[in-house]
Amino acid sequence: MTDMRRQFLLILIFMTIKALAIASNADTALVEHTSIGLQPMMEAIRNPALHGLAYKTSFSQLALGIDMQHQSRAFVPEKGNGYALPYLKVSTHHSLNERSTVWGEASYMTGKQHNVKWNSTSDYDLLQPYILADTLGGDTRRERYSVSGGYATSINRWLLGAEMLVRAEQEYRGHDPRMRGIVTDLTLRLGGGYDLGRYRLGAAVEGNIYKQTNSVAFYREEGVIPEYQMTGLGTEYSRFSGDKRSLYYDGGGMAVVLHASPIGQSGPYADVMLDEHRYHRKLAEYNSMPLTDLYNEHVGATIGWEKEKNHSLAVFGHIDYTKRTGNEHIGGTSDARYFPVIACLTMYKSHILETYAGALYGRGNWHINMTAGYREVSEEYVYPHRQMDAAHVYGRLQGQCFIRPSGKWLLTLNAHASYYANTSDKLQMPFANMDAAFTSLIQHKQQFAAANYTDFGAKVRADYALKHSRYGLFAEAGGAMTLCSASEHQTAFHCSIGITF
């Protein structure tokens, strides 16, 4: 019996080593396109000229999947406590010849966002804190269409590329309060690059146009509740809150991405990104009276060193700084539903600083990525003074492994774990003068902003190559769990099936 067990163990170890050995030679398109080894380059491939060179192989995929998440209590009330979002996505990266590449993606997503509260506007992360909100909320339905495509080519030492991304999204609720947000988002990127000796330099510009029409309707007259024009940290624009429920957002911005990296050799690399986006909130029912302007300014820089030979190694440091400034327009006396703007005051200020250092190491069929960082979020409403700050240090470990159990099968295993520890937090609010509902909202937000988080998860993908065909089938499933020190937790699940070609 003991001999049999020993033999079984030896066979198992032998098969595992053999599978790993085969997988290490797996120079497939799938490995190249799904490897986390490209993560240090993700900033750079926002430049379409460099995107064209990011992959050597052509790869296309059609996937049907679902993303699900559930939180025992909403970590951010405005985003709800979970979602179930099925999607259909097709993506392709195709090398036309040695010099030119095209890529594209089209997707349709529809589903439900659960228990969204204090938010009747779509794209919360982009537009917060300047949203429309109510205390009731409820589930919302979401539907998103997105299309993107790009082209890159090289002429001697020059690289050129262009890319366009379009997103159309609507979010609505089928019962009171019947919120509706319809978003159109267009981004255009133009990029260039130049091979200077052993180095590749890249520069790209990006332009964005954003629009959202947003409204809330009530069908039951006796159930009408006020809709608040939120202005940050539990404040609202009282004069235009209540029954003013039709507005729109007009926005857009620009970005510049600069990059330098060694060509096919070891050496230092660097990325710098600057971007500025602004979003104007206007009241549709009062001759487009401007209510608030939000300015998002961001600068990010990465510096690292990479080695690509028998094994890949990269060490890197990154810093990100985002400044959000909110201006409130002061409406004068009305004249036939026209409100002149008599002043504009900067009332909301937010700073987000994130910095991390990390290392990525891999050998053909496996990669491991470690990062350690610091993140600080500070929000301030100038008068009456309100402030909410929180800072965390974190560590994150991520691993990926490709295993080929047989000639036709390829397994991709991904796992990650991270821990965010709160180092400081501060809350300053005029609670004595605040409405009970707003007090409760702020306390809820602060509780989760200042909590510690432990996150871990895993994902498995199985690919099967069809006989005598360039097509393959795949299935993917993954789950993750986040434990929050506020005695709450989050579970996430993802699965998809599809074909590769």
């Binding site: 050129l160 510009v205 006396t333 504009c344 100038v382």
Partner: protein, 127 residues
């Protein structure tokens, strides 16, 4: 084509650097509020409470420090509704001096200048 992209980059950089958020940190101002008795009555001093309600945010600012017939209030720039209630020392055309209860009210006054916003309100006597 490649030269066009090279030209685009500095233009975009300049646009980014000049497109910084327009910050208006001068959010407070000084309002000088004066009460007057009109043509028939001369008001020499008042003791009253001024209540200023911000029309947009509904925030309430109060003050009670009158210097003669004027009060100076530090407040957020904006449009206000003003209510004043108190007693005034009045001198009639016949030089009779007496204390009278009064109130002043205005539904809309703009205090949007960065400094020295002035407004004069006519007293309504309650007796």
């Amino acid at each position: 084509m490649k030269h066009h992209i090279l030209f685009l980059l500095p233009i975009a950089l300049v646009m980014l650097l000049t497109a910084c958020a327009p910050v208006e940190d001068d959010i407070f101002t000084t309002a000088h509020i004066t009460v007057t008795g009109g043509d028939d009555v001369t008001v020499t001093s008042v003791q009253a409470q001024v209540k200023l309600i911000n029309v947009n945010s509904r925030q309430v600012t109060t003050a009670a420090d009158f210097d003669g017939v004027s009060a100076t209030v530090e407040l957020l720039r904006g449009a206000y509704q003003i209510d004043i209630e108190g007693v005034a020392t009045c001198q009639s055309a016949e030089n009779n001096i007496r204390m009278r209860q009064f109130r002043c009210q205005s539904d809309y006054v703009e205090f949007v200048g960065r400094d020295n916003n002035e407004v004069t309100l006519k007293i309504i006597f309650l007796d």
